[in-house]
């Protein structure tokens, strides 16, 4: 099973490569605020996307992203070399998301539940005839995947999203988590199995892919 997972035919779309040049990062590291502003401009769109996929609350995405860049600003001098900048930035992002999710959990175990908010919104939109098909489909997918991911811990959820959705390689995850590749493989395998079980338990008919994607 592990083998099949490791050599899965599915290759998550890898759309990212190092975006900022090393010199810019070095300048930002040495305290150049203009260079730091440029680094933020280069990465903010991508970080916002990653955060939105990790926390699932659009209204809080910018706040968490600012927290990430704030942490970056005050810890950039601890960066060893510019080559490890991206895993470093991802680590800050993951940590900020953990903190956010923990705060949310503490604040309200279920503030009418994120899911139900989405459902209410969706129901409203459908009732008003406002949502077009595409939007409806995307909402369905978001809601469905969020429900599936609720079956795993926050840590595993983030790890799974980074691997399966963000398309990070095991090597990159190793750098982000400072954990051996094998340990990551086991964690990912277990998390994926749990999600898969939840997926099957949804009787498949509930999958939004069937209705809208095909």
């Amino acid at each position: 099973m592990l083998r099949r997972f490791a050599f899965s035919a599915y290759e998550p779309r890898r759309v990212y490569c190092m975006q900022a040049d090393f010199e810019l990062i070095e300048r930002a590291r040495s305290g150049d605020d203009t260079a730091f502003g440029q680094v933020v401009s280069v990465y903010r769109k991508r970080i916002l996307g990653t955060i939105s996929r990790l926390i699932g609350r659009p209204e809080d995405v910018e706040d968490v992203a600012q927290d990430v860049f704030l942490r970056l600003y005050f810890s950039l001098d601890q960066l060893r070399t510019a080559e490890v900048f991206e895993p470093w930035l991802y680590r800050l992002t993951v940590n900020a998301c953990y903190d956010y999710l923990r705060r949310q959990k503490r604040r309200h175990e279920s503030r009418m539940s994120d899911l139900s908010e989405q459902q209410v919104l969706m129901a409203d939109a459908v009732a008003g005839g406002k949502a077009d098909q595409d939007e409806q489909y995307h909402r369905g997918v978001k809601e469905f995947v969020s429900t599936l991911l609720q079956g795993v811990s926050e840590e595993d959820r983030i790890l799974l999203v980074l691997k399966e959705v963000e398309g990070l390689s095991l090597k990159e995850l190793e750098k982000i988590y400072n954990v051996k590749e094998n340990a990551l493989k086991v964690r990912l395998f277990r998390a994926r199995q749990r999600v898969l079980k939840a997926f099957e338990a949804s009787k498949d008919g509930a999958s939004p892919l069937r209705d809208a994607a095909r």
């Binding site: 401009s41 903010r44 769109k45 996307g49 600012q66 600003y73 995947v145 399966e164 498949d204 939004p208």
Partner: protein
């Protein structure tokens, strides 16, 4: 058993990514970020200033106290030992004779 659903799950993850694409920040993103940076920088700056003032004041106090308590020694500098001094005393023999006669 779960194998047949794995490709579907992969497809679902891909669809999830499409449903939540990278997004542009709002116009206030950068100004708000710099505001938060400045806000956080201020206490650390004022703490740094306080620390510098404290260290300077401590050094000044230290110098002042040293100057007040320090006074040049009035004692002459000894160049010989106590035994040498006794040995060189011209009255030592007289004292000894007087003591014996007593």
């Amino acid at each position: 058993m779960s194998g047949w659903n794995e490709p579907k799950l992969d497809e679902l993850f891909a669809a999830y990514r499409d449903a939540l694409p990278d997004r542009d920040p709002s116009a206030g993103f950068m100004p708000e970020l710099w505001r938060r940076i400045d806000q956080r920088r201020k206490p650390s700056l004022s703490f740094g200033r306080f620390a510098r003032v404290f260290v300077t004041a401590s050094l000044a106090l230290c110098f002042a106290l040293t100057a007040v308590t320090w006074s040049p020694s009035l004692n002459s500098v000894y160049t010989s030992t106590y035994v040498d001094v006794l040995d060189d005393d011209p009255n030592k023999d007289v004292d000894a004779i007087q003591r014996e006669s007593l």
